[in-house]
């Protein structure tokens, strides 16, 4: 077990190196980053001055190590746009995205778990067909469009929830503002989870230990609860972890649709304003969140399913 954890931790190092390298090189994709910072009418000498001030005159590997050593301390430079440290902006936005993603996560589990189990237990009945059909259809819907349709239905037509924002101006409680974006964000996860839980349940129900459990006279409910569900949920845990990346990605567009002040909106506004230090900070932080949540999921998985440690 210790060896497994150690090996898994070791694997994180090259990935961290790669992620930081990509984020570092990204703003240099379009050639000289200094040329993009300065106005056209700057003279050679002025350009050189800017280049030296930002450290772009040094060898590229020196710049990379400088970037890393400052990033470790949370220093990504000033936001080019509003002269605040980029890290400050990310730190303000992070809790908003966390709120949105965790709520979406909770909604997804609460909706998908019973749907998946019910449709596996009632395989090929009308209920199963409806659930499976909806979950397949859900895969094909662009989530930002779904968000707009939710706004149309729940905010414009029914007036149950506000259209967008966080409650600064509306005076409504936060959960009312949180619900629609979280529901939208959860939909992709709901469809994936429902299908996964259903197929995983069906797979376990075919196994011999389940037949044995029935044969020794256990009640249906006990067999499902104790012998099927427990085993069926192991792969679900992994996918839940991996889907976090997907949630963060989806949050970018959803936050824009609902004017939610999280990481995604911060990053988009930084992209529109060509505010590179904020783009770098946001991309690096969201990638790190994913690298470490994948790590935690893998470790958790090895606890839940001892077989994985030996392969």
């Amino acid at each position: 077990m210790t060896i497994y954890i150690f090996r898994r931790l070791l694997q994180v190092i090259p990935v961290l190196f790669g992620v930081t390298l990509i984020v570092f090189l990204m703003i240099r994709l379009k050639g000289d980053p200094v040329q993009q910072l300065v106005p056209d009418w700057y003279s050679e000498a002025q350009v050189a001055e800017v280049r030296a001030a930002y450290g772009f005159d040094r060898p590229i590997y020196v710049q990379y190590f400088e970037f890393i050593s400052r990033a470790v301390r949370g220093d990504f430079g000033l936001s080019f746009h509003n002269r605040v440290p980029a890290w400050e902006l990310v730190r303000e936005a992070l809790p908003w995205t966390a709120r949105l993603a965790l709520t979406a996560f909770a909604i997804a589990v609460v909706v998908a778990l019973p749907l998946g189990i019910l449709s596996a237990l009632n395989r090929n009945t009308p209920l199963d067909l409806v659930v499976t059909g909806l979950s397949v259809w859900g895969r094909s819907l662009p989530n930002f469009w779904l968000g707009i349709m939710f706004i149309l239905l729940f905010a414009v037509a029914l007036r149950w929830f506000p259209v967008s924002g966080t409650g600064t101006f509306s005076g409504l409680p936060l959960w009312k503002h949180l619900f629609l974006p979280a529901l939208t964000l959860s939909m992709g996860l709901v469809t994936t989870l429902t299908r996964l839980i259903r197929s995983s349940m069906l797979e376990v129900m075919r196994e011999e230990h389940v037949t044995t459990a029935y044969a020794k006279g256990l009640r249906h409910f006990t067999v499902i609860g104790r012998h099927v569900l427990r085993n069926a949920l192991i792969p679900v845990v992994t996918v839940l972890g991996l889907q976090l990346a997907w949630l963060l990605g989806g949050a970018v567009i959803i936050e824009q649709v609902f004017a939610w002040p999280g990481m995604g909106r911060l990053m988009l506004q930084a992209i529109y304003a060509r505010d590179n230090s904020v783009v770098q900070a946001a991309l690096l932080v969201s990638s790190l969140v994913i690298v470490f949540s994948n790590l935690i999921v893998d470790l958790l998985y090895s606890v839940l399913d001892p077989r994985i440690r030996y392969s």
Partner: protein, 302 residues
């Protein structure tokens, strides 16, 4: 030595049975297609969208960019504008038909770009092993741990949006999943007897990997590419929605939804129809992909 009779012929000129094998394979595929409702429905949907994209100028009742100033916000249901008009009085149906072109073009080309890059890189990693494989595997891990859509947004934002940028960025950021599959397949195919036989007959490394190993990894890659087209079409619509995709006056479904969002309280049809068009297209591609997976490569999990 069974592989010698069933797989690609080794060396030399064309074998006499190759054509017969190919038609037999096509016939079998067609039989499986006819017996699968998902495959049939999926391919009909996809063919419909592709035809619409190709024939948009002939099918569209109006010029998609022409303003009808006295016909703004016309609701769906009139004979002249069946799906209504938008805030500038442009015909929604015509715009919808033209919008299929960008979705199909970007979806297919990005998958081709990413698939070819990923397949070659994965093939090299699996075939040569060693340090190259270690390096490539770490690069795959790295790319798979960066949220795809966020990376695409950042890169498109820095490079500036255009059709070519969009295709290259959506394609190239997706290389890693192809490389992972190609690498795995290559490593298992590499050990099979017909590869040793090809070596024994004096085939060079590059020739063996391209002529004997690559064709055997194609089934998985085709399935992956099909499902990737679906993901790419969704990503493209998202980028267009955010204004980071193909720029107006080119018509895209994502941009139409972005326009429609501003008038959602008064003109619901503006956002509704392009969303349904995206869903129809993506659903068709997913059906096709699921069916291809069942037929070509049941063990692949994507």
């Amino acid at each position: 030595m069974d592989d010698l009779t069933t797989d690609e012929p080794i060396g030399g000129g064309p074998p006499p049975t190759k054509r017969g094998q190919a038609t037999e394979r096509t016939r079998r595929l067609f039989r499986q297609w006819r017996s699968s409702p998902v495959g049939m429905v999926g391919s009909v949907m996809v063919i419909t969208v592709v035809l619409v994209a190709l024939l948009a100028p002939a099918l569209a009742p109006h010029d998609p960019t022409q303003h009808h100033r006295d016909m703004r916000f016309l609701p769906p249901g009139t004979a002249r504008f069946p799906l209504g008009t938008d805030q500038l009085g442009r015909d929604l149906l015509s715009r919808l038909l033209y919008g299929a072109r960008i979705s199909v073009l970007v979806g297919v080309s990005a998958a081709l770009v990413g698939g070819s890059a990923g397949a070659i890189i994965g093939l090299a990693a699996g075939f040569y092993g060693g340090t190259l494989d270690a390096l490539i595997s770490r690069a795959i891990d790295t790319f798979l741990s960066i949220p795809f859509i966020i990376l695409v947004l950042a890169v498109v934002g820095i490079l500036g949006p255009s059709l070519l940028t969009l295709i290259l960025v959506l394609g190239l950021t997706g290389w890693a999943s192809y490389a992972r599959v190609a690498r795995g397949e290559t490593m298992s195919v590499r050990e099979r007897e017909f590869v040793s036989a090809a070596y024994a007959l004096g085939g060079s490394g590059i020739r063996i990997s391209l002529r004997h190993i690559l064709p055997n990894t194609m089934a998985s890659l085709i399935v992956l590419a099909t499902l990737d087209v679906a993901a790419t079409i969704l990503a493209e619509s998202g980028l267009s929605f955010l204004g980071l995709g193909v720029q107006p006056p080119t018509v895209t479904w994502g941009l139409m939804i972005a326009d429609g969002k501003d008038y959602i309280a008064t003109a619901w049809w503006l956002a509704l129809f392009p969303g349904l068009a995206i869903s129809f297209t993506v659903l068709g591609v997913i059906f096709l992909g699921d069916w291809l997976r069942d037929v070509l490569d049941p063990k692949l999990k994507v």
